[in-house]
């Protein structure tokens, strides 16, 4: 084989080259062997020491974690319940005291879990559903959970788009944070779009579909872009008016979620 590249030697160092010819080549080529030894020496010198946590760290983590897990479980049960649905404004959030990023991610996860729990529950309990009452309640919860989750998702997406819209591009720009966030949003977006289609919410599904293309476009850019490349990205975003659409549909989704919640409250009173 030809002399292995630096990348192939790196993969070989980590036992991940998947190419036995490299080892054979190194055995017979003094030049490459020396290069590999130089690479190995550098990598062996790289250390990032970690301070030792306290001896009972695991117990301490558990004691702080347990109340949070209980809250999560209670929240999941409450959201999966057909009797009562929690109000975001009236009920104190279990995420109070947590950082915003943790709250948003976990709320989205709870929403998804509750949503799919609802679907699973509906499939598994057809006999208990009675004369359409139970199914109607489950469908209402499902729609409301979707609306809440999509509302949060659109808020987070709008925040990233605003960052891009307002950025002041220098000669080159590092957009790796925006890309990493877009990648996370993309995964959620696919799930929500698919769900919106399943519940025949075409307006939401259409915007999520367009948003998905925007997010994919963003994640496929290099992490460092020149000023002109960045301006191209921004022009494409502006041409599609995606931020405005996200805000409009986000506002509509929140209105619908509020209506759905209040109508559920009315039904329970009667």
């Amino acid at each position: 084989m030809n002399h292995p590249t630096e990348q192939e030697l790196t993969l070989h160092f980590y036992g991940d080259s998947g190419n036995p010819a490299i080892a054979e080549h190194l055995a017979g080529c003094a030049e490459c062997r020396q290069e590999f030894q130089r690479l190995s020496a550098v990598l062996a010198a790289v250390t990032m020491p970690v301070p030792e946590p306290v001896a009972a760290y695991e117990s301490e983590v558990w004691s702080r974690l347990r109340p949070r897990l209980e809250s999560i479980a209670d929240q999941q049960q409450a959201e999966a319940s057909v009797v009562k649905f929690p109000s975001r404004t009236a009920r104190p959030s279990i995420w109070t005291g947590l950082p915003r990023w943790a709250g948003m991610g976990a709320v989205a996860a709870v929403m998804i879990a509750a949503f799919f729990f609802g679907r699973l529950w509906e499939r598994r309990t057809p006999v208990m559903s009675g004369p359409g009452v139970q199914n109607a309640s489950t469908a209402a919860i499902r729609n409301r959970v979707l609306l809440m989750a999509v509302g949060e998702h659109l808020d987070r997406t709008a925040a990233v788009l605003v960052e891009l819209e307002n950025a002041d591009p220098a000669k080159s720009m590092d957009i790796s944070w925006e890309q990493s966030t877009a990648q996370q949003l993309l995964d959620d977006n696919r799930l929500y779009r698919q769900t919106a289609l399943e519940v025949n919410d075409k307006a939401v599904a259409d915007v999520l579909d367009q948003l998905e293309r925007v997010l994919v476009d963003l994640t496929h850019q290099p992490s460092k872009v020149s000023e002109s490349e960045f301006n191209d990205i921004r022009r494409r975003l502006q041409a599609q008016g995606i931020l405005l659409k996200v805000r409009v549909i986000g506002s509509q989704v929140r209105d619908r979620e509020r209506e759905s919640r209040s109508s559920n409250g009315e039904k329970q009173k009667t």
Binding site: R38, A45, V46, P53, P99, A106, W177, L186
Partner: protein
């Protein structure tokens, strides 16, 4: 990677309603998650928060756990995402990570301020500074991929899943980190070897 029997049993118990069975997972995996989180975030406060958040997310998503993979790998993937979220948040807050002293004043955390291990002592102080600069010069994704590869022994496939990249992109990310570290450290390592 094979599913550990104890982990599998604990997951099954939690899914069956025994919330306290989750404690076994916490006890078995806290340290490795903390080590990973510390290396990625660079300070203890953030690493501790990542540990907490990782277990919360894991608990929330436990029903989605695929029993074919190992719990450790799964938790590692969640921890990496928590750590990346944390670093994105920190980017907004300040140019450098800060934590509070006991008296409430903020202090700057620096990788170079950690007590050096015996291995690090083999390099000169100047070389160690060069290493810290090189580590800081890595992007969040590069540092995370490198930590997963170099310290956690994760495969390219595992890194790609954790970072939502293709396997090729994950390999490239690790390689870019290695190149940067190598450029910064090679002169010192060669000098030490003479």
């Amino acid at each position: 990677m094979q599913m550990d029997a104890q982990d599998a049993a604990a997951v099954a118990q939690v899914l069956a309603g025994d919330r306290d069975a989750f404690r076994l997972l916490v006890e078995r995996h806290t340290r490795s998650i903390f080590n990973l989180a510390y290396r990625v975030t660079g300070n203890m406060t953030d690493a501790d928060e990542v540990v907490q958040e990782t277990f919360c997310r894991a608990y929330t998503k436990l029903t989605t756990f695929q029993f074919q993979s190992s719990v450790k790998t799964w938790l590692c993937r969640i921890a990496v995402n928590c750590a990346l979220d944390m670093m994105a948040k920190r980017k907004f807050e300040a140019a450098m990570p800060r934590v509070k002293n006991e008296d409430g004043t903020e202090v700057e955390i620096d990788f170079a301020s950690d007590r050096p291990s015996p291995e690090r002592l083999t390099l000169s102080a100047e070389a160690q500074e060069a290493m810290q600069r090189a580590i800081k010069s890595l992007t969040d994704m590069e540092r995370t991929a490198f930590v997963m590869r170099h310290f956690e022994g994760c495969s390219s496939e595992e890194i790609s899943v954790a970072l939502n990249q293709s396997v090729t992109a994950a390999k490239n990310t690790v390689f870019r980190a290695v190149q940067k570290l190598r450029r910064a450290l090679a002169p010192y390592v060669e000098e030490a070897a003479r």
